[in-house]
């Protein structure tokens, strides 16, 4: 079974997990994801790939601790084995010579967008990075982004680190002073939607990485179907990247909340059994 190399808290509620998976580490490309499951009674959940090391044969993801599946992941330690770790899944992000690319990331997306940032820079793009954090103590990996970004902005409601605004407003500000050829955004659904809505009237192509519920991750079940580019698509095999201006966001929000009640039930059960 796949082995945990490291599992630790990056910032409150956001954890990093590194798994030994030599083949996946060799095959991984920016924008792809893995599916994992913490234990035999767990749930298969998709996590974006935040980094990999082909030589060491490891793959890293950053995840938000939210329900029981991620709570269980956050309890793992180096040396533990997990029954499911499969990938890389999904189509890789398109990496081209676009010119100036704005990367807008928040939450787990700061980790998830990192391989894309690195690859875009290597492909000769001018990378402007926008990190959205609620408060200063939730910021991570900004040092990594600084190395590949021409500019690094932080949007935050914490006056200590940002100007108090949301990320979408910052894109408008950047667009007023320079030409943006493409925007790529990864993070919570509300943030991606607000970015896509901000760039639509500006006519800037905006790629979003959708995060619906998945089961197998290979196109077999259709749990992840979403409407984008005018038709129903399976995010696991047709995505996860889509043109953000064509996504039916309301549908995605509703489908993501399919099991809201069950998630609470499951989490309460876990807490009752595991917390003192």
């Amino acid at each position: 079974m796949p082995k945990v190399i490291a599992q630790r808290r990056l910032v409150p509620n956001l954890h990093l997990i590194e798994i030994e998976a030599p083949e996946t580490a060799r095959a991984a490309r920016p924008g792809q994801f893995v599916i994992l499951m913490s234990d035999a009674k767990g749930e298969r959940i998709p996590l974006s790939i935040a980094d990999w090391d082909a030589e060491r044969g490891t793959v890293t993801s950053v995840f938000l601790v939210l329900g029981s599946a991620t709570r269980k992941l956050s309890q793992l330690s180096a040396g533990d084995e997990i029954p499911v770790f499969v990938g890389p899944l999904g189509r890789p992000s398109e990496i081209g010579e676009f010119g100036t690319v704005v990367l807008a990331a928040g939450c787990y997306g700061i980790g998830a967008l990192w391989p894309t940032a690195r690859a875009l820079r290597e492909a000769g793009n001018r990378v402007i990075t926008l990190l959205d954090v609620k408060a200063s103590y939730l910021l991570y990996w900004n040092d990594r982004y600084r190395k590949v970004s021409a500019k690094l902005h932080i949007a935050s409601r914490d006056p200590g680190v940002g100007g108090g605004e949301y990320i979408a407003a910052r894109i408008g500000e950047i667009a007023r002073v320079e030409k943006i050829d493409r925007v790529m955004t990864v993070g919570c659904t509300a943030m991606m939607r607000s970015v896509a809505e901000a760039t639509k009237p500006l006519g800037i192509k905006t790629i979003v990485s959708l995060n619906p519920i998945m089961v197998d991750g290979t196109g077999m079940c259709g749990a992840c179907r979403c409407t984008a580019e005018g038709r129903t698509q399976f995010a696991c095999v047709d995505g996860p990247d889509f043109d953000g201006h064509t996504v039916d966001w309301d549908e995605l929000f509703l489908r993501r909340k399919s099991y809201f009640d069950e998630e609470i039930q499951s989490l309460c059960r876990w807490e009752k059994e595991n917390l003192p």
């Binding site: 749930e43 089961v215 197998d216 409407t227 549908e251 998630e263």
Partner: protein
């Protein structure tokens, strides 16, 4: 509806004949004589009562007792020209195994089946015998009701498994040749077993975390207990088969990567894992599932044990399953077991055209499933939270026969009606999963996304690459997949030796 009988090869005919003329067989044939055998009634399959079983996931059929199996075996006339063998996609020597049961040698009977079928406990449960071996049983012609070949196959396999460790056949010395099998479903597992028995080093690459393919994610516990599948896979492992889970060939590694890693021949058995939807309004509402998702959550992920298991599934009050095949029956009977007060089959043709097995339809009826024939959904509607609340359907009538020979359903104008439902499961078929194929340039793919193969060898257009099961057929049965896999395994063996 019987499938087309398969022509028996001269070698097979010779083998059958050799067994047929053995002394013990000759003696057994005479006692009792055929006319007495035809008088014995078919032994019914004992099953759990519908009221009890429709509230849990334990197996419906209980299996024949040894006495019943002996009586059933006595019904077999041991024909000089057995029809049954030509009805079996994997050419099991059916008369020999049944006569071994009649003789009381149950383990020898299981061994006889396993000469040609590595997974008899599974086939005995899920094969459509009524359209295969039993359809061409000579007793059916003579007395109207065929020998219960499937029930006997199940009996022999279960007896052997329950008797302790299953004996392995003599294995040849390792050849040192490596074969990669893509997919641990019925086709892949069969090919793996056959090739391991030839001494090749076999690795099965499986995307999921448990073996079985459709046998684990699709067919429910109440038809095929997971413990049976587990035991059959253990047997393959003891034959030397290695299974790599969490490995999506085409993603985790390509076929070229595997070739570079030393695999010399390949069998693709990736199945028909792409669910079809009807593309009608409301199909993406919360509460509308593909049959694949619904069954995967319940079977592979054990959602029926939520919250002990983390994966949830909706427990509906009014469930509608769209379709008339075995998958639809599995879906609707699952919804019933998860507490649905109304569990309905919505099928666009009439009962006569339904592709599901008669046994499954009968079980479903006993369990209180409602059948709505000549009905097709045209729209789903949701409440303000996006959850499914109703389905609007049209009534159909049967028109002229279509390409399949079945009468084509045509809508009745003005027949629209709306029914409240909180679960819809779309079970209108699957297409071949394109994930791997898209990464294999040069592979010849047919109109429906299936791999094109030479049916005599199951060879694809790429050298050393063979395929079988639903990835070549588009959507068929477990046993046909296993038949393809046997053919492919023989070809791969020949390819490696050439």
């Amino acid at each position: 509806m019987a499938d087309k009988p398969i022509e028996l090869s001269p070698e097979l005919q010779k083998r059958l004949r050799e067994e047929f003329v053995k002394e013990w067989r000759q003696a057994l044939r005479k006692d009792p004589p055929a006319r007495e055998r035809t008088k014995i009634l078919r032994q019914p399959m004992p099953q759990r009562g519908a009221g009890e079983r429709s509230r849990d996931f334990r197996e419906v059929n209980c299996g024949l007792s040894a006495e019943a199996a002996l009586a059933e075996a006595r019904r077999c006339l041991d024909c000089a020209k057995p029809g049954c063998v030509s009805g079996c996609p994997v050419s099991i020597d059916i008369p020999s195994f049944i006569k071994l049961i009649e003789k009381g040698e149950f383990i020898a009977a299981a061994f006889k089946i396993k000469e040609t079928n590595a997974l008899p406990a599974i086939c005995g449960r899920v094969c459509p015998q009524e359209s295969q071996c039993e359809a061409v049983c000579n007793l059916k012609k003579a007395a109207g009701i065929p020998v219960a070949i499937g029930n006997l196959e199940r009996f022999a396999a279960d007896y052997e498994r329950n008797a302790g460790e299953v004996a392995l056949p003599a294995l040849p010395p390792p050849t040192g040749r490596r074969v990669a099998i893509i997919g641990a479903g019925p086709a892949g597992l069969t090919a793996a077993g056959e090739l391991a028995k030839k001494g090749h080093a076999v690795t099965v690459f499986e995307a999921l975390h448990e073996p079985g393919g459709v046998l684990i994610y699709g067919i429910p516990e109440f038809r095929l207990p997971k413990a049976i599948l587990k035991a059959e896979v253990e047997y393959l492992k003891r034959l030397g088969v290695e299974i790599r889970y969490n490995f999506v060939v085409g993603k985790t590694a390509t076929m070229d990567d595997l070739r570079a890693a030393g695999y010399e021949a390949f069998f693709i058995g990736t199945g028909a894992g792409l669910p079809n939807f009807m593309k009608i309004p409301g199909e993406n509402l919360v509460g509308v599932y593909s049959a694949n998702e619904y069954l995967t959550r319940v079977n592979l992920m054990r959602a029926y044990n939520f919250p002990e298991y983390d994966t949830p599934v909706f427990r509906a009050k009014n469930a509608a399953v769209i379709g008339g095949g075995n998958v639809a029956m599995d879906g609707v009977r699952t919804a019933r077991r998860l507490g649905a007060e109304r569990a309905m089959i919505i099928y666009r043709r009439s009962r006569h055209e339904m592709p599901a097995r008669e046994e499954e339809v009968g079980h479903a009826e006993e369990e209180g499933i409602e059948f709505h024939f000549l009905t097709v959904p045209i729209r789903y509607d949701g409440d303000e939270t996006g959850r499914l609340k109703s389905m609007t359907c049209l009534r159909m009538e049967l028109g002229e026969p279509d390409a399949s020979g079945r009468r084509r359903p045509v809508p009745v104008p003005g027949s629209e009606f709306t029914t409240p439902i909180d679960l819809a499961v779309v079970a209108i078929g699957q297409s071949p999963n394109p994930l791997l194929l898209a990464t294999m340039p040069g592979l010849k793919v047919g109109k429906w996304g299936t791999i094109e193969v030479d049916p005599a060898t199951m060879a694809s257009s790429l050298p050393g690459v063979y395929a079988g099961g639903d990835i070549t057929r588009g959507g068929a049965t477990v046993i046909l997949a296993m038949g393809d896999a046997r053919t492919a395994a023989a070809s791969i063996d020949a390819y490696l030796k050439s």
